[in-house]
Amino acid sequence: MNESSHISGEKLELYALGALPETEASAVKAHAAGCAECAAKLAEALGDVAVLALAAEQEAPPARVKEKLFVRIAAERTTGGQRKIVGEPKRPRPIWWNWVLVPATAVLAIFCVGLYRENRTLTGELQEARRMAASFERERLHVMGLVNALSAKDTETIRLASTKDGFPGSGALVRYNKRLGKVIYSADLPELPPGRVYQMWLVPTSGEAPISAGTFTPDGSKTWDAQVPANSEAKAFAVTVEPQGGVPKATGKIILLGGG
């Protein structure tokens, strides 16, 4: 391959997905290394593919991972500063020097350990404060988004009622802002057995597959909210019962339904 025969976009995407056999992948890599145009397109393809990571069920890692990371870094700092001087001839040290050096070193070591511990404590407190500040900011932005959506004039209210497959007397109230793609809802539904959740769906007028507006488990007067692609025209909203974590395509029967 040379610059006059560039790699096709399709092949670059297959490469970025890791879907090319090794021989073809090596050829793509070798070509891109010497062709600025294909290298730029490859960077784009890698970016387009990278967002697929967000399709995974989102979960925060346990706090211990971060703790271990910083312990590892602290250990590196402690041992990384040691340097051996090689090639320097050893000179005999006077014996009386040890009587001074040993206690002084011990005192210094205790002092350093104290300083190190204090530093770790302060760093931990600072990190915790930063985490809390970031968490408050996230919550503030989230609440502002909800307030904006609820107070917008173009927000519609849709009442969902039980279907023949649902629970008699149950229902839900959905506030939907098409422009913002924001769905806010509350529901009056019975508890489900373990491993099952309710899932809200926006049924598009276009006839395309319903769009998930999140899963929920009734809990007193709680409300839930979800983001769907902006300007999604809603024919109706529906609720199904699905496995824990939700599903990309509805599998359960519709138990609540309402809308235009």
Partner: protein, 184 residues
Amino acid sequence: MVKPEGKPDTRETDWSLLERVTRKDEAALSELYDRYCGLVYSEVKRILRDTGAAEEILQDLFYQVWRTADRFDANRGSFAGWVLVAARNRAISKLRKKGDKGEELENDKVDLKVNLETSTQQSLLVQKIRAVLGSLPEGQREALECAYFEGMTHTEIAEKTGQPLGTVKTRIRMAMETLKKVLS
């Protein structure tokens, strides 16, 4: 993203934090970790279906960031893109018991068209990507997920699904076109 009007975003960019990490600023690494640990952990866990291995890769990746932050610069594209690609490559290498594939790709530039620096931006995009994947025809979604989350080549996907190789390539191309259209 809903952003308060009149108030500038005072958050530090990834590149600014990385610059601080090169000066061995632990608070900056902590901030970067907090930004992306959820995305990385969830991605790796989905690929490997192993909590311990996902924790190990997450820790190793950010330890590498700590040690080699000076090798990153804006010419290498987006940090978020890099971290997602690097995490996936490591997970796929582990899944397929290959030692070198992941390391090779980690030097590639990654141009991410979206900003993932805040949790709000991340949640919006999570919803968007899920909605796109949920709306794809079954065959297209399966082909994309087999490649991305299971590290299968197009030939392997063709064998698994019993479809001709050309059909698999077409499905992947069409799925990527839909994805790009939504992202743009």
